[in-house]
């Protein structure tokens, strides 16, 4: 079981910090919201969840 980031779009402010902090570059901005463009690279470190200022991200089992 691996965990991938899950986005609550209503909370997302489009700041892009999650993309900036991801150590494996698996997130990218698509329009105003982040998008998991390389899910295979995600290591579930949870930095994106920690850094999100509006608590829009969480780790969920895939």
């Amino acid at each position: 079981m691996i965990e991938l980031p899950l986005l609550d779009e209503r909370r997302c402010s489009g700041c892009g910090d999650c993309v900036a902090v991801c150590p494996t570059d698996c997130l990218t901005m698509r329009g105003i919201v982040p998008f998991l463009i390389r899910p295979a690279d995600c290591v579930s470190c949870g930095l994106c969840v920690l850094i999100c200022p509006s608590a829009a991200l969480s780790l969920a089992e895939e």
Binding site: D17, P23, D25, M29, R30, I37, A40, V43, L47, I51
Partner: protein, 501 residues
């Protein structure tokens, strides 16, 4: 005389039975008739060379029949007052593209006053009627009629000075079909769809990723279409107040008593219509399906609708953002723009097109890229598509020292992203290299803190405060991770950095 007979043509009212001409039309000398027409008339052959002009034409243009035969009216580029009179006339009489495809066309052209003639520039309204002979080897004629437009009518309809007309022309020319030229089959198909879309008035839905060129595509279609003289507005449904948008589309807003700004709008590009509130979506749907604005004068149609969306319409409907009816109404003609990563074969021509723009204003003109830079561009996945490509080139041109861009000039994130993609292939037993990940996470956090601290007098000190670590540790880690010191790069305060190892 022939004219007398022609007067007795059926159409005349009278108590007697309609009289028919004694002689048939084939004896009617058309050329003589045209010759004596009050309006300036001309005829072009399929190579757009002048075949015939009448006396009124000679008087209007000041050019004699014998001189006129050298004119080839194939000059869409605008002219200025300095050009010779032949060029000015050739430009004025150039038929627009729809005429060459068999539709009649109607243009308004501005003739700059030649230096020798004193007086205001002249506006001509020109109607073109193409006529095609039957059969494979059919001949092809274009008949044209000129109507000089008086100044008063001009100011009411078209109050732009010559400079502004040329400005608009320059702007329109940035959206030519050459921007979409490609050898790829998907792009070729898109090119055909562009041409088709420019000939009809149905709404067009353009689907493509962020930065893939949807707006550009809409403008390209509009400026090819017969309504090209009217304006095309981009309305950002996500970032404009909804009242503003419904006002511009439908003229509804009883608060607005003054002028609206929607006059003269021939086309509208709706960026992300799924962001419109439901009632506006419903109104838009009714407008498209109904086809006519009840408030507008008889025969007038509202602006032609273009819409651009990142999500395919079915997905937007499923997510609840887009009304099903509106999705159907907009899907009459759907154009899909491929993302840049599916067009990598076009990269050389795209870069060639974008480079002059990217290095505009710099002292050094960048003309090409070194092989290592090309390799990186080809390997990158371009999530931001063409817009990202342009920004990357702009940043690279700022860093390039000579005429060439090398890999070091490209943004660091791009290089690292490519490296990451080229790392060890994915295995089912994915490794989690702790050291590497921790190092990368630390690097990202330090960079983020430095960015947040930008603008502070002591940037690194502030960043250390944000990170909750002593300054000395921040400096040591920046050195170890190879993070450039932004204060040193900007030539920052000397005192603070004096202690740097």
């Amino acid at each position: 005389m022939n004219e007398e007979d022609a007067k007795g043509a059926p159409g005349q009212q009278g108590p007697d039975a309609p009289r028919f001409p004694r002689r048939l039309a084939k004896d009617f000398r058309w050329q003589a008739f045209f010759e004596r027409c009050a309006e300036p008339v001309f005829v072009l052959d399929r190579r757009r060379r002048l075949l015939f002009v009448n006396r009124a034409w000679e008087m209007l243009t000041g050019m004699a029949k014998d001189e006129a035969h050298v004119l080839v009216c194939r000059r869409p580029r605008p002219v200025s007052a300095d050009d010779p009179i032949e060029e000015i006339l050739a430009h004025a009489l150039t038929p627009p593209s729809e005429v060459l495809r068999g539709a009649s066309g109607h243009v308004r052209r501005l003739l700059p006053a030649p230096k020798s003639v004193v007086g205001a520039s002249r506006w001509w309204e020109i109607e073109f009627l193409p006529l095609l002979q039957e059969g494979e080897q059919g001949g092809y004629l274009i008949v044209g009629r000129i109507r000089p437009v008086p100044a008063v009518e001009l100011i009411r309809d078209h109050p732009l000075s010559e400079k502004l007309v040329n400005l608009r022309q320059r702007r329109i020319e940035r959206f030519g079909m050459d921007a979409w030229a490609s050898s790829l089959p998907a792009m070729r198909r898109l090119g055909e769809q562009i041409r088709l879309a420019s000939q009809v008035t149905t709404p067009v839905l353009i689907v493509g990723e962020v930065g893939s060129g949807k707006q550009t595509l809409a403008r390209t279609i509009h400026y090819l279409s017969p309504r090209r003289d009217g304006a095309c507005a981009v309305l950002d449904c996500q970032h404009l107040p909804p009242t503003v948008i419904s006002h511009l589309l439908f003229g509804l807003d009883r608060r607005e008593a003054g002028p609206t700004g929607r006059e003269g709008l021939a086309a509208v590009y709706l960026r992300e219509p799924a962001f419109l509130p439901r009632d506006v979506q419903l109104l838009l749907c009714e407008r498209i399906m109904g086809g006519r604005d009840a408030r507008a004068p008889e025969g007038a149609t509202g602006p032609r609708i273009f819409a651009g969306s990142v999500m395919p319409p079915a997905q937007a409907v499923r997510s609840g953002r887009l009304l099903d009816e509106l999705a159907c109404a907009l899907s009459a003609l759907v154009l899909e723009v491929p993302p840049l990563r599916e067009r990598l074969a076009d990269l050389p021509s795209l870069v060639e097109r974008l480079l002059p723009r990217a290095c505009f204003g710099r002292d050094t003109r960048v003309t090409n890229l070194r092989a290592d830079a090309w390799a990186l561009l080809r390997a990158y996945s371009w999530p931001g598509n063409l817009r990202e490509l342009y920004n990357v080139l702009r940043s690279a041109c700022a860093h390039a020292s000579g005429e060439q861009i090398c890999a070091a000039d490209l943004p660091a994130e791009l290089c690292r992203a490519v490296q990451r993609e080229q790392m060890a292939p994915r295995t089912t037993d994915k490794t989690l290299p702790l050291e590497q990940l921790l190092e990368e996470a630390e690097r990202r956090l330090i960079q983020l803190a430095l960015q947040r601290a930008r603008g502070h007098k002591a940037q690194k000190a502030q960043a250390a405060r944000l990170l909750g670590i002593p300054r000395a540790r921040l400096w040591r880690r920046m050195l170890a991770l190879g993070i450039a010191d932004p204060e040193q790069e900007a030539g920052g305060p000397a005192g603070e950095d004096a202690r740097e190892e």
